[in-house]
């Protein structure tokens, strides 16, 4: 009966097995597409709505009641101020913490406790940081920060990105091979000399990549900034860290909640600007990573 079948030809049972494999493959593809297609549709929708609002005046005008005269100047300045201050605050703190945890801390309960805490902090909802920022930076440190100021916002966001930055820094430091450290110690280098001349320079591309990725997460943060009282309507740019401010994401939130269609178009345009900023930062991170990729 089965004489017609070749010896190595797939039997019906194998065909059924293969079919099950195909079904699984299809399901996986569908799952991938759900995310990608949604994102593409969303982006296309935003582009369609927003592109026509992207005029030069959009970047040079302050928000206005009249959509035709409204711009993102204050939000753009606020975002740049905020990101700059966050980078200045969180980078040294994050790198120093990562160095301490990897190179100096004795392995023990204290180190484990801190490590666990940092991992957990990375997952804390950002609104919680907003409450913390409101209590500490806006109220308690009012004399220094000036209250609802860009520095209060930067400190709050710095707390938010620090755990991510520390973890990225630790991974970069851990990737520096032990043999390099041993070579350095073997020549009579102190711990500081080894960290300064070998660990940090070799870990720096990884640390920078991590920093940029952390910042690109922070650039879209809205909730904690609203919590600490960043204004939604503001017609000036900050001149000092103690000035009030707004940021792009808050501007988007503000415009998107207006009933008029034109404001939704403005919101879409602001989202495009935000996305371009974000993608440029990610591109920079990828470029850094490839440029300094090391072969050991």
């Amino acid at each position: 009966m089965s004489g017609k079948r070749h010896y190595l030809e797939a039997p019906p049972e194998l065909i059924a097995r293969r079919r099950r494999g195909k079904v699984f493959q299809g399901l996986c593809l569908a799952a991938t597409l759900v995310g990608v297609v949604t994102l593409v549709v969303l982006l296309a929708d935003i582009l369609v709505d927003g592109v026509k609002w992207l005029s030069p005046t959009f970047f040079t005008e302050f928000p206005s009641r009249l959509p035709a005269r409204a711009g993102i100047k204050s939000a753009l300045y606020g975002t740049v101020w905020l990101m700059g201050l966050v980078a200045l605050i969180s980078f040294p703190l994050g790198v120093a913490a990562a160095v301490w945890l990897e190179e100096y801390a004795r392995k023990g309960w204290l180190q484990t406790a801190i490590q666990t805490n940092i991992a957990n902090l990375a997952g804390v909802p950002s609104i919680v940081y907003g409450i913390l920022g409101l209590a500490i930076f806006v109220r308690w440190m009012f004399a220094i920060t000036g209250g609802r100021s860009v520095i209060s916002g930067a400190l709050t966001i710095s707390l938010l990105v620090l755990p991510i930055l520390i973890i990225a820094g630790q991974e970069a430091i851990r990737a520096v091979p032990r043999s390099i450290r041993e070579a350095s110690y073997g020549l009579g280098a102190t711990k500081w000399q080894t960290v300064r001349h070998h660990v940090l320079p070799n870990a720096m591309p990884g640390i920078l990549t991590g920093t940029i990725l952390a910042l690109s997460r922070a650039i879209g943060e809205t909730a904690p900034l609203i919590m600490i009282g960043a204004l939604t309507f503001i017609a000036f740019v900050p001149d000092s860290p103690r000035d009030q401010f707004t940021v792009l994401s808050i501007q988007v939130y503000n415009w998107a909640s207006r009933p008029q269609d034109d404001f939704r178009g403005l919101a879409a345009a602001a989202i495009i600007v935000l996305l371009v900023l974000l993608l440029s930062m990610n591109a920079l991170a990828i470029w850094l990573r490839n440029r300094y990729r090391k072969e050991w």
Binding site: I180, A183, S184, L187, A189, T190, H197, K294
Partner: protein
């Protein structure tokens, strides 16, 4: 009882007295007492896991970098116990240099690799001379003198290892510890390293860990055979390889196990 027939007659570069090393609860070195005579090459041989690398790392307190390692007993250098409270391990490593199993040049220029050690202690004025002298001592000068600014990772494995030797020599150590320095190299590069060891021993004391018994036979004056953390036999190299006193040593060097 181990057979130990090497005596430094008061001229030991290094001397261990009942050295034990524990990694957490495991005892890796079980009480070794031996002398390393000055300006001689001593080879440490034995099967994997016998503790020869661990013992080598006791000589420049490299084990300090392993949190779980605990060293007891004494290691005497110039009559001073390396593990005494007043001793700074950084100063120990400056006097007792080390070359590692895998060539580990820094990802910097050839010049900066050699200059790194001297620069650690200040700003030497004759740095160029130190670099040239060290590279000459390591028999690498002629091959790299025209490209000192090139990245050291561009050198071949054998050149990299000689660079690591030059780097260690640049801080003028008194003892050079070598942990299987040729195990990652091809036979020609290995021959160069062995030749180099024989030149260097005029000025330095060398302790070399090796898996390669022919290598131990070729380069060393004395050989110590370790097994499971014990020093089994320590004698003139010829004796170890031709007429060892211990049955266990003989089984190992003739390849009956290990």
């Amino acid at each position: 009882m181990p057979t130990i027939r090497v005596k430094a007659d008061g001229d030991a570069a290094l001397e261990t007295r009942d050295v034990h090393v524990h990694y957490d609860d495991a005892e890796a070195i079980k009480g070794i007492t031996m002398e390393i005579p000055r300006n001689r090459v001593v080879a440490l041989i034995g099967p994997s896991g016998c503790g020869k690398s661990t013992l080598l790392r006791c000589f420049n307190r490299m084990n300090d970098l392993v949190p779980a390692a605990r060293v007891t007993g004494e290691v005497l250098f110039q009559g001073e116990n390396l593990y005494a409270d007043h001793v700074d391990p950084v100063e120990v490593r400056r006097r007792i240099g080390m070359v590692f199993q895998k060539p580990n040049p820094f990802p910097k220029s050839i010049y900066d690799n050699v200059a790194f050690g001297p620069r650690l202690y200040g700003r030497p004025k004759d740095l160029d001379d130190i670099v040239e002298r060290s590279l000459r001592q390591a028999a690498l000068w002629d091959e790299v003198k025209d490209r000192l600014g090139h990245n050291a990772l561009g050198l071949s494995g054998g050149q990299q290892q000689r660079l690591c030797i030059a780097r260690a020599l640049a801080v003028t150590p008194e003892v050079l510890l070598m942990d299987e320095p040729a195990s990652a190299l091809d036979p020609i590069a290995t021959a160069k390293i062995e030749e180099l060891i024989q030149e260097l021993v005029e000025h330095y004391t060398i302790v070399i860990v090796t898996h390669n018994m022919q290598q131990a036979a070729r380069v060393s004056h004395f050989t110590a055979y370790l097994y499971l953390g014990d020093l089994v036999e320590y004698d003139v190299t010829d004796t170890i390889f031709t007429a060892p006193n211990e049955k266990h040593t003989e089984d190992y060097v003739t390849g009956r196990f290990g």
